[in-house]
Structures are given as structure tokens and as C-alpha cells.
């Protein structure tokens, strides 16, 4: 598993990764001066209230939010092609002929991609913190910087989701499907909160149907909500991220176990 993860991490040497890293750091510097996300939104919107409920004095920075999305998209582009490329180039047959189990192969890919995404995000955060220090002459508080790192948890299900999709599609299709799945996930994230706000009885069967659909998508809004640094919500966030990642990875393993690799080969 470790060897497979290292194989994925070798992409760090590729020019594409340097280009993505360059884009991420330049964007991070550009957005570093933005106010906290709660101040950027209309206070009446649901999202604004979820993000800032006055529970914590440590706000989520807009720059972190933007860079999380950018890192997820860039990391997703890099990671989505991994498994389909191994299949089309028959590398997977060589790898699986060694004493490597399919689950180890897939976990290696997963952790490799996770490290790439986290690397991009942390590099962006360092640029944001440094830019703030250069402009204002003072560093953000340690706890505030730590709070921004909570978004790393969102990469767990995100990478699992990408790996799962890439087990079912080709390189390009995996990127496109992942992108649309992410958009739908963000869109459906508001569903339970909005339905909870509706007058009783209004949602009815529609609410039930929508809830069933909702469970097919990860809810990324949970990662942006206002919560105390160390408490039940942060623990639940960890459990949610890990359990959701395992669900995605189980689906991916199921696919790898039943797949006929010769049919997808380009060779």
C-alpha cells in the first residue's frame, strides 16, 4: 500500500503538478486579503447563518474556503486519472501480479491522492498566512490557523469519492463526473437544513424523497459550519469523514474485485 501511495506521489515530479501548485499559490496570495467568509455573505442566507452562529471566535477565512475548493478541483484532476490510466496502460495487471491485494492497491491510490490534495491546500494556507503577515505585520493566532486545517477532513470523503468514480469510468470521464458529482453534492448539502426550516407538514412526501436522494451525496456544508474547536461536532466531523470515505472505498473495492481489466486495456 505504501509503495502504491509513493507511486502516486511521484506525480509531484511532473510539470503538471508544478503548474497546479503555481496556480494554487498565486490564487492563495490573491485571495489572502479577503474578510472572513461570514462577512462576505448576506446575513439572511442559510449558509451565512450556518457558517457564523457565534459559537466560536475563530472564523473560517474566505481565503481558506476558496483555496479548499481550488485544491479539491486541482487534486481531483490529478487523482481522477490515476486508476483509469493504470488500467488503460495495463500497469494494474503488473502491479496486481505482485503480492499486492486489490484493497492495498486502492488504499495506496487513495492515500497518495489525499496527500496531494492536502499538500496543495497546506501550501496555499502557508501562502495565505505569510501574505497576511507581510501585509499586516502580525501572524494569525495559532488556533485560527488550526481551525483552517479542519477543512482537511473534507478531503477524506472527497478523495474517496474521486477514487470510487475513477474505478467506473475512463480518465476524462472520471474528471467530468467527479466535477458534476461535487456540484450536486454542494447543491444537495442545503436540503436537510432548508427542509428543517420549512413549516411542519409542508415538505411531506417530497421531503422524504429528497432526503433519500440527499444520502447519495456527501454534505460538505458540515465542514464549513460554525463549531467549537474541540467538542462533539469536531468529533462527529471526524467520524463522518472516515465513515463516508470507507463507504466510497468499499464501493471502489467492489468494483475492482469484479472488473475485467483486459476489456479496458488500450494495449
Amino acid at each position: 500500500m505504501f509503495a502504491i501511495a509513493l507511486l502516486t506521489l511521484k506525480r509531484v515530479r511532473e510539470p503538471a503538478f508544478f503548474i497546479f501548485l503555481g496556480i494554487a499559490t498565486v490564487l492563495a496570495y490573491t485571495v489572502s486579503g479577503l474578510d472572513p467568509i461570514s462577512q462576505q455573505l448576506n446575513s439572511e442566507s442559510i449558509f451565512a447563518q450556518v457558517v457564523d452562529a457565534g459559537r466560536s471566535t475563530l472564523p473560517l477565512l474566505s481565503a481558506s474556503f476558496v483555496m479548499f475548493i481550488i485544491s479539491a478541483v486541482l487534486g481531483g484532476f490529478l487523482g481522477a486519472a490515476e486508476i483509469p490510466r493504470d488500467i488503460s496502460s495495463d500497469l494494474i495487471l503488473i502491479l496486481l501480479s505482485k503480492p499486492i491485494r486489490k484493497i492495498s492497491y486502492m488504499l495506496g491510490k487513495y492515500f497518495g491522492m489525499l496527500v496531494l490534495c492536502i499538500f496543495l491546500y497546506v501550501a496555499s494556507l502557508i501562502v495565505i498566512f505569510l501574505a497576511h503577515w507581510i501585509h499586516s505585520g502580525e501572524l494569525y493566532s495559532f488556533l485560527l490557523m488550526l481551525k483552517q486545517l479542519y477543512l482537511i477532513l473534507a478531503f477524506l470523503p472527497f478523495c474517496g469519492m474521486i477514487i470510487m468514480i475513477s474505478c467506473y469510468t475512463g480518465e476524462l470521464a472520471a474528471m467530468v463526473v467527479s466535477f458534476f458529482y461535487l456540484i450536486f453534492s454542494l447543491s444537495f448539502s442545503f436540503v436537510p437544513i432548508a427542509i428543517a426550516m420549512l413549516p411542519k407538514g409542508v415538505a411531506g412526501y417530497a421531503g422524504g424523497f429528497v432526503f433519500i436522494l440527499y444520502y447519495f451525496f456527501p454534505n460538505f456544508i458540515f465542514y464549513f459550519q460554525d463549531f467549537k474547536m474541540f467538542g462533539l461536532v469536531s468529533l462527529m466531523l471526524l467520524i463522518y469523514s472516515v465513515s463516508l470515505s470507507i463507504i466510497f472505498l468499499l464501493i471502489a473495492v467492489g468494483r475492482l474485485e469484479t472488473m475485467d481489466y483486459s476489456k479496458n486495456s488500450d494495449v
Binding site: S43, E44, S45, I46, F47, Q49, V50, A53, R55, F184, S187, F188, F190, V191, P192, I193, A194, I195, A196, M197, L198, P199, G201, V202, A203, G204, A206, G207, V210, N219, I221, F222, Q225, D226, F227, L232, V233, M236, L237, I239, Y240, V242, S243, L244, I246, I247, L250
Partner: protein, 239 residues
């Protein structure tokens, strides 16, 4: 066998943890929201478009049902029932409401929604044809009749009936003397259709009636005047 049991245990526990953590996080997110600050429109805007339509329908439907329950006078009840019948997407409920309105309250202006529903409704055995609908129209004074005309003409446009059929349907308008300015809209449409079909006599007659109707008061003015008078009388009685 052991592997299978292990896998089932893993899947069950993972799903259990997922649902528990999701429920906790959802509660935490909902608890962050101050219900007084959130407007219904804001909630609907945050929903995906396909869901928004469904929820908007449910909100409106519940609202209309509540209106029906709150209605006190017979006129209020009929009006709420007609609106509910017009809005509902449940074909059976629609048929039930409109059938009841048509049979029990044919002379009430509120029942016009039902008559318009059956008007040229080919799939319904209780369909109302053009001559029957024109007879129905004549049972109302001009003030109430205006809306029924408008709804019927709109329905003909929706059904994509030909210009000739629409003009033929509107012909009785030429035989009456308009009492309200609002009727000029129908005469203007008649002039347009008749000119298109080369019927100069009809076009000229309708054109003349446009001028006549423009000299009349509008329906809104008349209704407002009536309401003000009624309120003034109420005030007098109160004293």
C-alpha cells in the same frame, strides 16, 4: 465465511457511524440557524431547482388548504375551493373540486374556474363546447363576465386553437355594449385577428367598440368605489 461475516460487520458499523454522525452534524447545522432571521424565499432559493419547484408547490398547496379551512362565509369558501382546484396537480382532486363547483354552484362567479377547466377539455366526458360556454358567459353581469372571458381566451391560446376559432368564440362581444374600459383589450384582439383573416366588417365593428369601451370606467375603479361605499356605510352603522 469469516471474511464475509467480517465484511458485513464492517459495512453495518460503517453505515451506523455514518448515519449517527450525519444526524448529529445536521442537528448542529440546523441549531446554528435563527428561524426568525430566515424567510421562506431564502430557504427556497437555497434548494436545488428541481426540489424548489416541488417544495414551492407544497408550500402553496398547504397555504390554499389552510385558506379553505379558515374561510367563514360561503363566498370565501367557494373562492378558496376554486383556487385550490386550479392549483392542485392531483388530477383526481381537481376533477372532484371542479365537478362539485360546476354542479352545485353554477351561478357563482367563483365556479368559473371549473367551467373554464371543462371548456374544450377533450379528455373529459363532461367537456363544455363553445356554444354552451357562451350561454354560461351570458349568465353573469359584465363586471364578473370579464374575468371569465379572459380565462377562456387564455385557455384557447394554450390549446393552440386557430385564429378563426378564437375570433368566432369572441363574436358575442360584438353584440354587447361595453360597460367597462377593460373590455377594450378583447376588442383590440378582435381587430387584430379579423384584420389578419381579411374580415374588414368585423374589424371595423370591433374598432368602434374599442372607442366606446375607452370612455367607460375601469373594473378596478368601480370595485374600489363599491368597497369604499360599503365601508362608509359600515362606519355609519357603527356610529
Amino acid at each position: 465465511m469469516e471474511k464475509k461475516t467480517g465484511l458485513i460487520l464492517l459495512i453495518t458499523s460503517v453505515f451506523f457511524l455514518y448515519f449517527i454522525s450525519e444526524a448529529c452534524l445536521r442537528c448542529a447545522a440546523v441549531a446554528n440557524i435563527n428561524p426568525e432571521k430566515v424567510k421562506l424565499d431564502t430557504i427556497l432559493n437555497d434548494l436545488p431547482e428541481s426540489v424548489r419547484d416541488l417544495v414551492t408547490y407544497r408550500v402553496m398547496y398547504t397555504d390554499l388548504r389552510n385558506n379553505l379551512e379558515k374561510a367563514e362565509t360561503e363566498q370565501e369558501k367557494l373562492s378558496a375551493l376554486a383556487q385550490l382546484g386550479d392549483y392542485t396537480r392531483d388530477a383526481e382532486e381537481k376533477e372532484q373540486i371542479f365537478s362539485r363547483l360546476r354542479e352545485k354552484y353554477p351561478s357563482a362567479p367563483e365556479a368559473s374556474f371549473a367551467f373554464v377547466y371543462y371548456f374544450l377539455n377533450e379528455n373529459n366526458p363532461k367537456k363544455i363546447g363553445i356554444p354552451e360556454f357562451q350561454r354560461y358567459l351570458n349568465t353573469f353581469p359584465q363586471l364578473e363576465r370579464y374575468n371569465v372571458w379572459a380565462m377562456a381566451i387564455n385557455k384557447m391560446v394554450q390549446l393552440k386553437l386557430s385564429d378563426r376559432e378564437r375570433l368566432d368564440f369572441m363574436m358575442p362581444l360584438l353584440d354587447m355594449r361595453p360597460e367597462y374600459r377593460d373590455y377594450s383589450v378583447f376588442y383590440t384582439e378582435m381587430v387584430r385577428l379579423a384584420s389578419k383573416l381579411g374580415l374588414s366588417n368585423t374589424a371595423n365593428k370591433a374598432d368602434g367598440l374599442i372607442d366606446d369601451s375607452r370612455l367607460c370606467p375601469s373594473i378596478t375603479e368601480v370595485v374600489m368605489e363599491r368597497e369604499m361605499k360599503a365601508e362608509a356605510e359600515k362606519g355609519k352603522k357603527g356610529k
